[in-house]
C-alpha cells in the first residue's frame, strides 16, 4: 500500500511539472504578438512594456523565462496589469473560501441525492420509481447551469424575494452564509446529482448480477444487508472515481458560470474576469491552480481506490 501511494505521489508531482511547462509554453511562446505587450495591457506605455519584459523575463532564454515566471507565480509576487494591479496570488487565496463553500456544499447535496436516487432506481429497476427518477435525472442533466441560474434568480430572488440575489456572506454568519448559497448549491448540484444517480444505478445493476451477490443471498442475509454491504459497497467504486475528477475540477476554479451569475467572488469568478480582460498572467495562475487540484484529487482517488478494492492494493503479490 505504501509503495502504491509513494509512486502515485511522485507521479503526481511529475504531472504538475509537465503541466506548468505546457501552460508556460501555451501562453508565452505560442501566441504571435509580443507577450510583454499583452501582459502590460491595452494602455501600456513603451516604458511599461519594457518593465514587464524585465519582470517577466522575456528578454532571457526560454528556460530562464520559465523559471522567472514560475517564481513570480509561486512566491506571490505576480501582479496583474490589466486588473487593477492586484496581486494575483492574493486574489486567488481570497477566493478560496468562497469557492470552497460553494463546491463542498454542492458536493454534499449532489452526492446525497445522486446516491439515494441511484440506489432506489436500482433496487426497483424497471418499476415506476425507476422510470420517474430516470426522467428527473435526465431533466437535471439537460438543464444548462446558466439557464437554471437565470430562472432561479428571476423567480426566486426578483419576482418573489425568497432568497438574496447575490453575493457571499462569510461563515461567521452561518444563517446568512447558507441563505446566500442555497440557490448556487442547487444550481450546481442538479446536473451532477442526475448524472451520478444514473452511474450508480448502472453500476449497481451490474453488481447485482455478480456471483458473490447470489452467494450472499444464499447465506440467508436480509435483502437490506445484501444491497448495502455487498451491492452498494462494490458499486461505489466508479462513483468515487467520478467524484474525484468532478470535485477536483470545480474546486480548482471550474464553477465559472455559477460563481459569475451569483456573484460569488471565488476563484471561478476571478477566472471569468481574467478571461474577459485577457489577462494572461492571471489566466496562467488559475490554470496551474486548477491543475493542481485536479491532479491532487486524481491521486487521492487512486489511493482511495486501493483502499476500497484490496485486489488493487496487493498488486503483484496477489496471484
Amino acid at each position: 500500500m505504501l509503495r502504491f501511494a509513494v509512486r502515485r505521489l511522485i507521479g503526481a508531482i511529475a504531472v504538475l511539472f509537465a503541466i506548468s511547462v505546457l501552460v508556460f509554453l501555451i501562453f508565452n511562446v505560442v501566441p504571435a504578438t509580443n507577450p510583454a505587450a499583452r501582459i502590460a495591457g491595452k494602455n501600456a506605455t513603451p516604458q511599461l512594456i519594457k518593465n514587464v519584459e524585465e519582470e517577466w523575463g522575456f528578454n532571457k532564454s526560454l528556460p530562464e523565462q520559465y523559471w522567472t515566471q514560475m517564481k513570480l507565480i509561486f512566491t506571490g509576487k505576480a501582479t496583474s496589469y490589466s486588473l487593477a494591479h492586484i496581486n494575483i496570488d492574493q486574489r486567488i487565496l481570497e477566493g478560496i473560501p468562497q469557492t470552497a463553500s460553494l463546491c463542498i456544499g454542492a458536493a454534499i447535496i449532489w452526492l446525497a441525492f445522486g446516491i439515494f436516487f441511484g440506489y432506489i432506481s436500482a433496487i426497483r429497476a424497471g418499476g415506476f420509481v425507476d422510470r420517474f427518477v430516470t426522467v428527473i435525472a435526465l431533466i437535471g442533466i439537460s438543464m444548462p447551469v446558466f439557464w437554471l441560474a437565470s430562472i432561479f434568480l428571476y423567480y426566486l430572488t426578483y419576482k418573489v424575494e425568497l432568497f438574496p440575489a447575490s453575493g457571499y456572506v462569510s461563515l461567521s454568519n452561518p444563517a446568512e452564509w447558507a441563505k446566500h448559497l442555497i440557490l448556487p448549491w442547487v444550481c450546481l448540484a442538479v446536473l451532477f446529482a442526475g448524472f451520478y444517480s444514473r452511474v450508480l444505478r448502472s453500476s449497481m445493476l451490474d453488481v447485482m448480477n455478480e456471483d458473490y451477490v447470489r452467494t450472499a443471498r444464499a447465506k440467508g442475509l436480509s435483502q437490506r444487508r445484501v444491497m448495502v454491504r455487498h451491492v452498494l459497497r462494490n458499486s461505489l467504486i466508479p462513483i468515487v472515481t467520478l467524484f474525484g475528477l468532478d470535485f477536483g475540477v470545480l474546486i480548482g476554479g471550474g464553477a465559472i458560470v455559477t460563481e459569475s451569475l451569483f456573484q460569488i467572488e471565488g476563484v471561478g469568478y476571478f477566472t471569468a474576469e481574467a478571461l474577459n480582460q485577457q489577462d494572461f498572467p492571471s489566466i496562467m495562475a488559475v490554470t496551474i491552480f486548477g491543475a493542481f487540484f485536479i491532479v491532487l484529487f486524481n491521486t487521492i482517488v487512486d489511493i482511495a481506490y486501493a483502499y476500497l478494492d484490496p485486489r488493487i492494493r496487493l498488486g503483484t503479490s496477489a496471484a
Partner: protein, 287 residues
C-alpha cells in the same frame, strides 16, 4: 488418432523444441522497479512433433502448457531456447520474418465465446486471413470460405451471420475453420473442448480427428482432461510447473506412468464406473 501409427515413424520431425524457457519478471521496489524474482512459466521444455502425429500436452493450471504453445508460436518472445520448424530456427525472429510462417502454424483457442470478434461476420472471421495473405479475394474467397464452413460441419449459408447467433460448439467449429483457412501444417489446439458441453465435446474431437486425416495435419493438443488427450494423441507429454516430467506413447503413459506426478494426476481422474471407483478407493486405503 492418426492412422499413421502410434510411434514416431509417422514422418520426420516437423517441430523441434529444445530447452525452451519463458520467464516473466516479478518487479518490486518503492520507487524504481527492480526484478526481484521470476515466474518460471516455461522452465526448460524440450519435445519434438513428427509430421502427421498428434502430441498431447497435459497438465494442470499453472503447468505452463498454454504458455508453451504461445511461445512456440512466437506469440510471446522466448527468454531462451530453440524452436525449429521444418528444420528452420524460428525462436526470436522478427515479426516480419515470421509472417510467412504464420500460414504454416495456427492455433485453436479454448473459449469459443471470447475468441471470435463479435462485430465481425463469420465469413469475415474465417476469410480475412486469406485476403491479408493475398491468397484469394472476391468470389474465389467466398467459395473457399463456404467450403471451409461445410468441412467443419456448418452450413455455408451462415456466411453472413454473427458469432452470437451460434452455440458454443458451433463457434468452436468456426474457430477451427479459421485456423485451417490458410492450410497450415501444424495446429496447436489449446483446450479446444473444455468450455463445451459433454455431448458436444465428442463431436469436436471427432471432427479434429477427421480433419487431421483429410488434410494431413499435425497437432499439438493441450488439455487438462487426460481422457480426451489420450484419445486423440499418439504421444503424450506431461507438464508440471514449467517442466515436462514424462513423455511417451499415449497408452504407455496412461497405463504405465513412470513419474510420480503423472501417477498422482492419473490417480486423481475420476473413474466413471462405480464398482471400479470403489475398488480403487479400497486399494488406496488398503495399500
Amino acid at each position: 488418432m492418426s492412422d499413421l501409427g502410434t510411434t514416431s515413424t509417422a514422418g520426420g520431425p516437423l517441430l523441434e523444441v529444445t530447452d525452451l524457457v519463458k520467464h516473466f519478471p516479478i518487479k518490486s521496489g518503492l520507487l524504481i522497479d527492480r526484478e526481484v524474482d521470476q515466474v518460471r512459466a516455461v522452465d526448460g521444455v524440450s519435445f519434438t512433433v513428427n509430421k502427421g502425429e498428434t502430441l498431447g500436452l497435459v497438465g494442470e493450471s499453472g503447468s505452463g502448457k498454454s504458455t508453451t504453445c504461445r511461445v512456440v508460436l512466437q506469440l510471446l518472445k522466448p527468454t531462451s531456447g530453440s524452436v525449429k520448424f521444418e528444420g528452420q530456427e524460428i525462436a526470436g525472429k522478427s515479426r516480419r520474418d515470421l509472417r510467412p510462417l504464420r500460414r504454416e502454424m495456427q492455433m485453436i483457442f479454448q473459449d469459443p465465446y471470447a475468441s471470435l470478434n463479435p462485430r465481425k461476420r463469420i465469413g469475415q472471421i474465417v476469410g480475412d486471413q486469406l485476403k491479408i495473405q493475398k491468397i484469394a479475394s472476391g468470389k474465389e474467397l467466398r467459395t473457399k470460405v463456404e467450403g471451409l464452413l461445410e468441412r467443419v460441419g456448418l452450413s455455408p449459408e451462415h456466411y453472413n451471420r454473427f458469432p452470437h447467433e451460434f452455440s458454443g460448439g458451433q463457434r468452436q467449429r468456426i474457430g477451427i475453420a479459421r485456423a485451417l483457412a490458410l492450410g497450415p501444417k501444424l495446429v496447436f489446439c489449446d483446450e479446444p473442448v473444455s468450455a463445451l458441453d459433454v455431448s458436444i465435446q465428442a463431436q469436436i474431437v471427432n471432427l479434429l480427428d477427421d480433419l487431421q486425416d483429410e488434410m494431413g495435419l499435425t497437432y499439438v493438443f493441450v488439455a487438462h482432461d487426460i481422457g480426451v488427450v489420450r484419445h486423440i494423441s499418439d504421444r503424450i507429454a506431461v507438464m508440471n510447473q514449467g517442466k515436462i516430467v514424462e513423455t511417451g506413447d499415449a497408452d504407455q503413459v496412461c497405463e504405465h506412468p513412470r513419474d510420480a506426478y503423472t501417477k498422482k494426476l492419473l490417480a486423481a481422474v475420476p473413474i466413471p464406473d462405480p464398482r471400479e471407483s470403489r475398488a480403487r478407493r479400497e486399494r488406496a486405503t488398503a495399500g
